[in-house]
Symmetry: D2
Subunit: 322 residues, 4 copies
């Protein structure tokens, strides 16, 4: 059994991670650290867990008792934690924050997108889990980058659910405002653009275009649904072949030749991709569950790889469907 | 033109009051006081007003410039305001808080439910606007009280929208939690029960039963939908006649002999009532828009009466329907 | 491996059953019969299954190839099917329709509520799966019936999601109408009342009161949330003990001493129950996922019992939480 | 008083038209024709009208009793109606279908977008009311066309509510499917593209680019929210001036220099436009209520112009806000 610790246990990604791990046949949760909730029952804080677990949050950090530590904290906090704590040499780390996604001097974290870096993840000690928008968008275009087909600006519209904005109540997550509403934010300037560009350059070194990304706030709690437009003269048949080949060995990403909708992936670790060609424009539709494939599901996927487990263990989830 | 001032201008009831008053042909808004928003444009704070008004919030209180002052503040704040400010002798006051709803020594506010107290309101200087649940429930049973028919415990289930909980973001108004969810709170102990009992006793002095009221939080922003069960041997035909007679002169309350649903009243100042008889149980369905008939619409209705205007002026609203 | 057949494969309960069975470690789906969808891929019809299954609907009925047959059809259709087909002697049958829930001459189906009839189900060949409302309400009051405490009319309000009304598009399942709306239907006359009364009498033969049940249509797809009022002088402590004892050996029903909400059970096979006492009124809150504990999850639970499997196999589901 | 007739009275646009006209001070509804609902009360069919009107649907067509006839029928039906009925010479016609929007030999309908064709509408006898998407998108880019600034492909993403798909229940308007869901349809091929191009060419004869329009189905009943990307080197300040000048005399279209969201326009006849510049890309956000500015509100606006009324009469609507 893999012994697991979690820090930042009160947030949405920690909750989802716990929901996954208590049903994962190869893991045991040793501690869930949360300063704000120390002593409280996990089931009183995270929806859906009554009857499933008696775990309590702790303010302790028995790092020597675990094999892997998940960081479920906000921007900057993982780095602060690592700089101020003694991390055992052999402890595997999986960071769900943004802190270690971008390569830089002294950063030994592998970017944890299995469809891009499976091999490195399998041997990694430290993995930086990708952003939710970044996952959905990259999976939509990585096969094109691999074939050096990204030679023009990429247009991206992507709608996210309210869980993407975190558990802390804010005006734009107030039900009265968000219900039946649509809005955009950080157009062309979202913080996930750099990690997307980094991955594209990894496959297509010549990539030098813009990603014109408009993030939308949607009136639903879970999921990201993206439409992407890329200019190309390649036929739809060839492109579909490229995508199917690229994802041939991946368990969670599927090319679907029918119309897809967001609910197809909710409460699953899947990414569905649908392709259409209109004139010389390729339309790519890509969708994921932001808390699973876009966060905690992918983190468990990475853990499975890092511990040489079959990659789908603990991730055969019943889709909610509705 | 009636010159209007508003204190507590940043909350939901103030926003709805402003939406009504800027289209009211007989009123002019002189000031909207809000400490937290002084200097900000009203249209930047209250949804839906771009292009309709250039009003700004102020921290000033020119009470001598107005004919009527609306209090849109929380529990206790109206009383505090009145105790610490010089209220001009002739200034009419309409309080949307709970502070003056219950009769007590020294409280000269008339309880502002026109279907109960129209005459007193017409000559009142100070009016306490009823609570939203209290309005919906009272309108459902007042005709029975008038005929002394309330001689057993009254069962009430009523579901409210998220605007009922106020503009301040809280865990139970977080979209991620409230969307597609249902819960109850303060069962049998809601703070509106005393004002309901007070009204029932006004019509049926012998009333001495319990109101077993379960408030639900619904996954919608606006509206209250109540079902009420009362034991009675009177036939449905007689009861319908009693209700139709009771509300014969009221503009906003209608008895409907078809199934009704909450959306029938959204964005209107109406109360719809539907009656069914099952054995010796009378089922009453009553619904209102909590921000209109349950708050700001009723406040304007009261203002119309206090200034001897036709009661529906400014309240011919296009229902949203969807 | 248990070999499974499904008839009526295109509806909501069949979809949910398939979502469960493809992850169930002890079952193999042999056929899914649907006349309207014969030849179509299951994943094209039932949301969430892309990448999980290549199954297709069939118009064939190889009843000799299976160990258990699930009926996922509407009212009357199971009986018609059984009367017009040769059912192999040893084939186990689980019926999700209403056809065999009420005991009558010649009906050998066991009423499949494990919390009431576990022993009989374990040895049953034919099981009638309870109704969704009926499940939620019965689990809320069975312990009282066992202690002969139901001696007065029972007040029930219960809200159901849109999946309860079936896959066929209808005016009251139109998004434009149902979104942000609330309504009631069949008050005091819902078709599940007889099966509830039958179970209560099974435990408390003297039961002779009314169930004043008001069903609500809620603005959410999944789930049933019920509040039940019962008169009793017994203390809350004694009642809680009675409930905890009653459900001590049940895996899916939990007594929670905190406020509960509908989302706690969505995408799980659980029933959560919360108890409050107000004067001499006992308030019981009970909630389930209508498609799981209220239909297909309970059907799988029954199958597990009928085949002497551990009852929770295939039902350790990740709650959706949001 | 303008005497009004309506054909196709049972659909969503007719319902909204009725909601507007019963409060319009200068109109009287003479008849509402609906074959499917003849004899039924309008308030029993269209949500929100109980207490507001006793009108009934009729199968009669007293065309000689009215001044203006609104067509609220589906594609092709207006043309069929006109070809098979004697339309009085002086009867004004306003068609909400697509039948007469595109200029062609023998089509004397003026395209009824007041912000483009106010003068012609004022003297028109026959007006073709624009499509909902077409209105929202055109208002977002007409000022650019006027300044001949549309010289590259235009990227449009626009999300519509479920009322855009009509009252007839369909799988993609089923609440169980649409709630919390997002999907696209008719990408690059929506039927409103030709009327948009026609308008752009009217102002910028050289316009010869593509409109890459992806329509989304949103999980809300009312509204259209569009984001549009246009390449231009002109500064934001100059562009804002161009827009403000273009709409200086229009009552319903407003340029907002803050973030906007869909709810700002719901239950109003407004179009809000927000502009951002990112590098050489101009981002235009445009939103309307599809049933008002996108259909029945614009039809009333056109009627006001055709009868030389002040254009905002009957259209001072209280926004729903939530």
């Amino acid at each position: 059994m893999i012994k697991v610790g979690i820090v930042g246990g009160a947030g949405y990604t920690a909750g989802e991670l716990i929901r996954l791990l208590i049903n994962h046949p190869e893991t045991e949760i040793i501690f869930i650290n949360s300063l704000s909730n120390a002593g409280n029952k996990v089931a009183d804080v995270h929806e859906g867990l009554y009857g499933d677990t008696d775990l309590e949050f702790t303010d302790q950090l028995p790092l020597d008792k675990i094999d892997v530590l998940f960081f479920c904290m906000g921007y900057g906090d993982t780095q602060k934690f690592i700089e101020t704590h003694n991390i055992p040499e052999n402890l595997k780390l999986i960071d769900l924050s943004m802190d270690y996604r971008i390569k830089r001097e002294g950063n030994d974290f592998v970017y944890g997108l299995p469809e891009l870096n499976r091999r490195s993840i399998c041997s990694a000690k430290h993995v930086a889990n990708p952003g939710c928008f970044a996952t959905c968008i990259q999976l939509g275009i990585l096969p094109l980058a691999k074939h050096l087909m990204l030679n023009d600006d990429i247009i991206v519209n992507a709608i996210t659910g309210s869980t993407g904005a975190g558990v802390k109540p804010k005006p734009n997550s107030h039900f009265s405002w968000r219900d039946n509403n649509i809005s955009i934010y950080k157009a062309f300037e979202h913080q996930h653009i750099p990690e997307i560009k980094q991955s594209l350059k990894q496959l297509q070194n010549s990539f030098n275009s813009e990603i014109d990304f408009i993030p939308y706030r949607g009136a639903f709690p879970r999921g990201i649904f993206a439409t992407i437009i890329v200019k190309t003269k390649t036929t739809l048949e060839e492109i579909e072949k490229i995508y199917i080949d690229y994802y041939a060995k991946d368990s969670f990403t599927h090319i679907i030749n029918k119309d897809i909708d967001l609910k197809q992936v909710i409460n699953t670790n899947k990414c569905l991709i649908h392709l259409e060609k209109h004139g010389d424009k390729l339309l790519i539709v890509s969708c994921i569950d932001n808390l699973l494939k876009g966060a905690s599901g992918q983190a468990v996927h990475n853990m499975n790889l890092m511990f040489n487990l079959e990659e789908t263990i603990g991730l055969h989830l019943k889709p909610s469907g509705f």
